[in-house]
Amino acid sequence: MKRSSLIAFFAALFILALWEVLCKSLNIPDFILPAPVSILKVAIFRAPLILPHAGITALEILTGILISLAVAVPLSMVMFAYPSVEKAVAPFLVASQAVPVFAIAPLLVVWLGYGIASKVFMAAVIIFFPITVNLLEGFKSCDREYRILFQLMGARFFKTMRLLYWPWALPHFFAGLRVGVSVATIGAVIGEWVGAQKGLGYLMIQANARLKVDMVFAAILWLSVMGMTLWVFVGFLEKRVIKWK
């Protein structure tokens, strides 16, 4: 294990140990702040209850990622090919991020219903921006000399895109995707808070109302595991795809 990973591991262990000791020594009741061991027990032993909800949230997040990719990748290419389109679309892109997702969540539930569509849409909106912006910047960062070389070889836009711009922008794309997947859970959970019948967000709201704070934390733990799994998977994919770095 790397030294930095060891430091992170022991730091986390120290914080958890301190949390456990404080909860026990101060007799903090579970409905205020459960100790880490209690949370872990709930997360493991109540897994049959939690996992179906986690599955729904995972489905919302993964669908959101796929939809945002399907929109962000072609849109970045079009904006790169036609700077006038970028100028026209940029204000809307910024506006989509300037409006908090909390603000539009109730509207989306009204428009798209209590099913997974509204949550998927919210996750997609959150993921879409970092992927689009990073990919566009990646295309733009391509060295002038390489562009000239391709021009001189007589390459048209799509061949240049396939052979030069796309591989060039891949590290930027993965950076955007990493940011995207790590915040994707926010969109899905907010949607579930506002109106849902399934999902980790729904479970958290229900547990909170019954003062089952250990279940709230267990749901958060599973959500964190999902986010970290996605993060690690994107990192793994990046290493497999970008072999030349």
Binding site: Y146, L149, L163
Partner: protein
């Protein structure tokens, strides 16, 4: 083969080229040398259509052309190999872009890899080999263009002296064995004297031809040839004078 007549270019009312004329004969090796910032690279930008010309004509084989894009092969100081492709795939880039038969092109590239001394490295990635080998691969890619005219923009300036010397002989091979016509920019006067059939010494902007030397003798030449040393000293003194005038 290549004829440039009365080429002019201004940048922000500063004249870089003014009625510049140049001829590269078929199978000739013309070398341009001049002080830094004199406009040599701008000339290549104009020739390749990267920057539009203000005035003047470019003719190739007697036919006027707007620029040499898609008509000349081009090799720069940087090898510009794509790091995500193997050396073979980099060499096949022109074929992939022009839609040429890949199997045929692969055979041709394979022969060039052998001829240029990098046989056996076809499947290596650019990051795994030395600068000299990368430049050899760039030369293979340049030859894969099947274009008669080759523009070389300081192709060896980033290399160490020994690698440079061995690649100079490959540039001569371009001319002799592959029958290419070459227009090269260099900062290295000795390199220019070893390779050129025609050496054009340029002035500071607006760029003009200060001196022109024609060499009819056989190549490879010997750098210790007294005549070459004499020309080298003369050219260096002229370039130095130019730089001093600029400083004043």
């Amino acid at each position: 083969m290549l004829s440039v007549k009365n080429l002019s270019k201004d940048f922000n009312s500063l004249s870089i080229l003014e009625n510049f004329n140049l001829t590269v004969p078929k199978n000739g090796f013309t070398v341009l040398i001049g002080p830094s910032g004199c406009g040599k690279s701008t000339l290549f930008d104009l020739l390749t259509g990267v920057v539009p010309i203000d005035e003047g004509d470019i003719s190739l084989f007697g036919e006027k052309v707007p620029h040499l894009r898609e008509k000349a092969a081009y090799m720069q100081q940087k090898d510009l190999l794509l790091p995500w492709f193997s050396l073979m795939d980099n060499a096949l880039l022109p074929a992939r872009i022009t839609g040429a038969d890949i199997d045929q092109s692969r055979k041709k590239a394979q022969a060039l890899f052998e001829r240029l001394g990098i046989g056996g490295f076809e499947n290596y990635m650019p990051g795994e080999i030395s600068g000299g080998m990368r430049q050899r691969c760039a030369l293979v890619r340049t030859l894969m263009f099947e274009r008669d005219l080759v523009l070389l923009d300081e192709p060896l300036s980033a290399l160490d002296a020994i690698t440079r010397r061995s690649l100079q002989s490959l540039l001569l091979m371009l001319q002799k064995e592959f029958k290419k016509s070459i227009l090269m920019i260099t900062h290295d006067i000795e390199e220019a004297l070893l390779l050129a059939d025609e050496l054009l010494v340029l002035t500071s902007p607006p760029m003009r031809i200060r001196e022109q030397f024609t060499f009819d003798d056989e190549k490879p030449r010997n750098a210790s040839d007294p005549r070459l040393i004499e020309i080298k000293e003369y050219v260096l003194s002229q370039l130095q004078k130019d730089m001093n005038n600029e400083t004043v």
